[in-house]
Symmetry: D2
Subunit: 340 residues, 4 copies
């Protein structure tokens, strides 16, 4: 059993914890919080030992009825792999400690590529993570782009990608972040930094991206236009998507044309936390323009798609499973995850 | 086993179906849809026989890969109790058919009190539903108000209730209804019609209500101010809430101060569809002003609170369980529902 | 003085009315409403004679304190040009009446191209409208696209346009339309119908468009990527935009990066109804990728950009001013409109 | 002419500046900004001398094309009255400087009552501000409550006020503040601090308030329930509102039932920045329950209602106009403000 610790039990951390706990070859040995909160009660109800960043705050937790297993440093010494899911930038501050303890660490997309020196996506470069001490799972948007671009590249060769990301403003449970009634250019410059981030995984893909923020909470939406080297065929692309373990087709018969309905569908299907782990590609949108340009919409559930990547990354770093297909199959099976 | 049919498998219907299926003394013998949709696939994945309103549309369903068990009328003849969860107003049109078939029917809050002649809330008037053919489960807002008002009335006597309902604009999966950026008075008159609706369950309570719509999707929020006959005590009220099977306290240590965070908490706790079946009363808000006025905030999950009421109503109409406490206990246990 | 009637005094109609009234060569001889409302009081406060569709409803208006000048048909007979700004589809129903009366009519983008047989944009095809009886001012989105595409085409030749339109869900004063929390694909197919609509004005431009709806009210946002025949130069494009009478640059020093801030700026500058009549092109976003692809963001104020086009269209149809530059200059001057 | 300086030219400051500039007995001698922005360009376009907090940043402004008149301290020495409209809390930091210079200062509602020692509302306590060095214009919500409560108190005597404030999440031009999809209790305790703030102006009024935040930008909405000593009469209350210079009636014939439509109406009427300076009381909502409780909805335009109060406060402090009626009349006339 691979012993996994979650440093930063928030939106991403709590999902990775449950996904890890469901795996046959992994166990959660601890999760960490900085202050008492609803999530601390959730960790406790799941039976995850709770470690805290500042052990001096132990009485605060106990007064609230939350048991504390120890300090974050104690947790780290007991782990084979640490998933650092602290807020963007905190991971960098944690690095000296991780280096001192010599523990393997997975960073999230809020950290820079250089911090880990390797950016991971299980469908694209699983094998290259084997044996590494530091790996960064790329952001939700980059994960979604890498999956589809790599598929099209393998099938037809990619000449040029243009992608516009319409991003959700906040996660559903966040109440401070806006905007309330605005479309915000973030960044105001085109191309955005998302293109280079894709290249941290797929270095040779020419890509121009634009990114905006809109006042919704459920999922990002990508408009993807990929010019191909070879002529592309709509039906073939649809079949490739259907047989990909991390891509899903939103069928016309469902009547779903929005992020909100897709979230509702995941909830109805009983998925844990209504999570959409795969790219939600709208079948009706898949088209080939002039024979050489693949166009499509894909919904990317920001809270979910990186979760399964983290699980695969753990397995790759430990190195007992050496190929992506096997790891992905184990991960998906353990979650009861069949693409929609 | 009580045979239950769900006529109108939508937001409310799909939840009642799952809650019924979980009961030890009930089974779902069919659910109905008017056209193929995501929800039809959900019914199929749950194994509920799907009946359709217009049997002429059977080929549409089959082409989409959805099996059809028969017509709605066939479904109705096989049921002991029908839960009519069609959109507001459709239930009235269905009544002649129900009368012809002599089947027991539960209507929802979108129908008028007079249609059923009896308005139901399990905590207030369970026993009066025994043996009835038609029962109306009051709306989500009225259900939430009845629960807390009845509690305070029993403890201290209610002199006067003032309640403001800040209502969610649409359910999360609805994409047509707004507003986007407005506070809408609905109705623009004060008092609103919600007071009289409470009186359909609790006829002697003097109550003034106001109701507004705001652009959110997760839950309604009620500001409740209840003048009492006897002097009220904050700690005692909190204890009464804690021991009520359909009221829950949102604890200060969770840090939750909004509908969105409360929804997230239900999702984290693994509740089916992240449902809050109880009133979510904010413990920090509970106060007694001048000894004789109880004030509090309660979050009401519009999609969920009436679900458990429907289950109890089924049991009451059949009449084998004659007291509310027993039915509520069975319902809650089957759902694994312990108030937060 | 050209006598202008506004049939349909709503979001667009009320703006066109004021813009027309401000012109030296035009006057408003009447506006129409179907029922008493805030807008009827506004028309009255502006001194515009109010005509009503159903003269039988005259007492309703008078009881509310609104004077009625007569029926819509009477209004139409007094006009040289009618601006039909009724809701999409109503214009088609009005056509037989317009043909009977032989009056010149301008339709809006909610009507089909074929209804008028000619689609207008003053920067692109002013002269072709001269003498026509029916002209259609294209939609707000198409107007915004035509302006910038035509500019780039004239300067460098357009090889291919890719545009994504992130559309506001409702106008600020609309309270029924949603969504509240969703990104909606409208249509779910790519390319959307906006490309062909651009071609109704610029027939030879190859263009692929995608369109989504997001829960905001202030403006649409376009992501525009234009491949050019000749090599393009960023500074030159910026200068061309600066000297175009219907394009405006949102300067970096303003700190504006969103629709909401841009609306606020228009309001602060004292523009009538805070209207942004020009394309709001974000200077920081203007870029040239690989020498032959112009990329930029532009905000399109859905309520405003077509207003000035309607004024020019009136002038073109009457035919006394035969060139676009002169008409645009008169229109802009009368509104005190200097591009930001 | 009273020389007025605006320290903090933001949402409130820019409106007060224009209102002051419109008065016959006042002039703007300067406004201040901390960094270049759209608002700095607006000040320049209005011809207001611009002073900056940190004179070292002068080159930043000049590079952006904005002329700088000097430092904030220089501006303060030239003013008879300073309107401090800096963000909440900054005013307190500015006090030592104001005391050193001995200048008269008006604070806004974001500062504490004790900072000024006197809280102002022109309809309630104009005369008490005469000759003071420091005055605080109460917040938008408190201003709206004081106006209506004082009116009812004068007419019938107030026994008890209950008010729920449904607050807009952010001003329209703010893009960082949320929530996106939540109803937030702020504070989670009942009563909220708004009651005591009303008592800073009307010390003897018994009042319980509750306050929530919802994702809208245009206006707050108040549900006001006032128990009266004497029997109240609906028609009489409506007449009192009609004749009050700072209360307005939203007429049923307008069809307006929301904040968004009311904002649109102000925009259509040509009000500066679409400002609703008065309480927008919905005539249809005005009711008397059981003879002794006045109920109504009022929309409060957060950006606007305090603007006219600031103008009156300037006049009161200087002391040449000694009665509220005269000052209010001058203020309103200068703005062309007739209540709707
Ligand atoms: N939320 C998303 O949509 C999303 C998607 C993909 C990637 N990410 C990335 O995942 C990472 C985590 O984001 P999140 O949204 O889960 O954040 P979050 O704020 O929801 O959770 C962060 C957690 O870390 C804890 N924490 C904060 N400081 C800590 C410290 N010093 N030591 C230990 N724990 C600490 C917090 O208590 C919280 O529980 C970021 O890098 C983010 O960019 C987020
Ligand atoms: N959604 C809520 O928040 C909520 C809360 C409490 C009560 N209610 C009440 O519950 C009832 C149902 O509301 P909902 O929100 O679930 O509606 P919904 O629109 O989500 O679902 C209604 C379902 O009925 C089906 N239907 C429509 N016409 C039908 C017909 N003629 N025959 C059979 N089926 C038909 C639709 O296909 C749909 O599946 C209404 O009375 C409503 O007022 C709704
Ligand atoms: N609102 C926008 O953002 C926008 C932008 C560009 C183009 N358009 C187009 O402009 C047209 C008008 O749209 P709008 O948004 O101003 O609509 P609107 O609903 O705001 O106004 C329509 C007006 O027409 C009146 N009306 C309705 N039926 C009528 C009839 N039979 N006869 C006379 N008057 C009638 C209504 O009372 C209303 O005042 C549509 O074609 C629309 O597609 C709208
Ligand atoms: N916005 C509202 O709805 C509203 C309503 C009523 C009262 N108020 C109160 O009015 C005050 C101002 O609020 P606002 O919304 O106008 O804020 P704002 O942020 O819109 O404007 C504040 C302005 O002050 C400037 N500023 C910041 N620090 C400064 C400093 N140290 N010296 C000089 N200028 C500085 C900023 O550049 C900005 O222009 C606050 O007390 C607030 O509580 C606001």
């Amino acid at each position: 059993m691979i012993k996994v610790a979650i440093n930063g039990y928030g939106t991403i951390g709590k999902r990775v914890a449950d996904a890890v706990a469901a795996q046959p070859d992994m166990e959660i040995i601890g999760v960490s919080k900085t202050s008492p909160s609803a999530e601390a009660f959730v960790a406790q109800s799941r039976g995850y030992p709770l470690y805290i960043a500042d052990i001096g705050r132990k009485p605060d937790f106990e007064k609230a009825g939350i048991r504390v297993a120890g300090s974050v440093e104690e947790m780290l010494t007991r782990a084979d792999v640490v998933v650092d899911a602290t807020p963007g930038g905190v991971g960098a501050k944690n690095k000296p400690l991780y280096e001192k303890l010599g523990v393997r660490v997975i960073y999230q997309g809020g950290e820079k590529h250089l911090l880990a020196g390797f950016s991971f996506n299980s469908s694209c470069n699983y094998a290259k993570a084997i044996g590494r001490q530091f790996v960064r799972v790329v952001s939700c948007n980059t994960t979604g782009l890498c999956r589809i671009i790599h598929l099209v590249d393998t099938a037809y060769g990619v000449k040029k990608v243009r992608a516009t990301m319409i991003r959700r403003a906040s996660d559903p449970g966040e109440i401070k972040r806006g905007p309330v009634d605005a479309i915000v250019l973030d960044p105001v410059t085109v191309p955005s930094h998302h293109g280079p981030d894709v290249q941290s995984v797929l270095p040779t893909i020419p890509i121009t991206t634009a990114a905006l923020i809109v006042p919704t909470t459920f999922m990002h939406m990508h408009v993807v236009m990929i010019e191909t080297e070879k002529e592309a065929d709509r039906e073939e692309i649809i079949q490739l998507i259907e047989s990909h373990p991390r891509l899903g087709l939103v069928r016309p018969a469902t009547g779903i044309t929005s992020t909100a309905q897709l979230k509702e569908y995941m909830q109805d299907l009983g998925r844990s936390r209504a999570d959409l782990w795969e790219n939600g590609i709208f079948q009706d949108s898949v088209s080939v323009v002039d024979g050489h340009e693949v166009c499509l919409y894909q919904a990317i559930h920001q809270e979910a798609d990186v979760v399964v990547e983290n699980v695969d990354a753990i397995r790759a770093m430990i190195g007992e499973v050496t190929d992506a297909e096997t790891s992905i199959a184990i991960t998906n099976k353990a979650l009861g995850f069949t693409a929609i």
